[in-house]
Assembly symmetry: C2
Homo-oligomer: 173 residues x 2
Amino acid sequence: MALTRDAIVDAAEAILDEYGLADLSMRRVADLLGVQAGALYYHLPNKQTLLAAVADGILGAMGQADTLQGWATEYRRLLLGRRDAAELVASTRAMGLGEVDPTAPARGLVPTERAGDVLATFEHFVLGATLHDQTQAQLGALGVVRGFDEAAAEATFQEGLRILSRGVGIFTT
Amino acid sequence: MALTRDAIVDAAEAILDEYGLADLSMRRVADLLGVQAGALYYHLPNKQTLLAAVADGILGAMGQADTLQGWATEYRRLLLGRRDAAELVASTRAMGLGEVDPTAPARGLVPTERAGDVLATFEHFVLGATLHDQTQAQLGALGVVRGFDEAAAEATFQEGLRILSRGVGIFTT
DNA sequence: ACCTGAACACCGTTCAAGT
DNA sequence: ACCTGAACACCGTTCAAGT
């Protein structure tokens, strides 16, 4: 069944969903595909590239938005929808890997020359907040930490977006 | 020279500074102390606890601030001052480890009942932005990525703080 | 061209045994 | 009480050798 790059990325996604980022190893991916670990390196240069491809798969689902808040909320929703996605995306975005730019659908929404700064600010907030909340949610699910309130975290996130949006008014109003 | 918890944390800090978080292993720390890796577990339950202690060492330097922007700027400065500190602190803060609360010195600066949300928003922005910039700076230093402009990153960060601060005005004015 | 087998140089953690 | 030695169960990556 001919090992391909796509098959490897799919296997990595399956392992991410079932075991999490910490257990997503090249050897586990190879095992799932019934192949030796070394075989993966014929199709991919290294693990980073594989992780970036998985991140692209997640970010590829970003659709058009008509407000900055809507865009940020969808970005967060996408990350929360997949195990450890906030950590994965935060690190691939920080390293500048990945082909998909999740800020692209928000480009037209900031009618100012400072658009780059505004989008960077929103993205850093989304990644920082969601990394925190997703980690807490997972610790809560394991019973390691008690009383993580998902609704409260969402409310705090929306409050943050309101603060940011009000502040952006410097430019737009 | 009696191995102590403090000596282990100091050694870990030294390795962080010289080799970075990826190369900060229990075995390396033990080597630096001239001891077997297993010996560390007599003084610390696991690596997470050690990393949390190192993070506390960094965050312990936070001083009093008299504006939210000043507090956020010092938080960032502290993180940028130590190799991989943004990644280290972002993860220990997300997991709720560490004894030191870096938001404590900013408590009195937000005279509203939504103070918790405001501080969380600022911290998530600081961690998200600084994680990004510190990663880029390190990739730039390695020549992996070209043209990371530190001054531009700082300007974008300050622009983000201005947006946030303006937005907080909802409450304070 | 594509994959195996085996190696290299590592990990975090545990634990009987020594002092 | 404190540490060693050795093991367990892993890592990412490389590369000669096979097909």
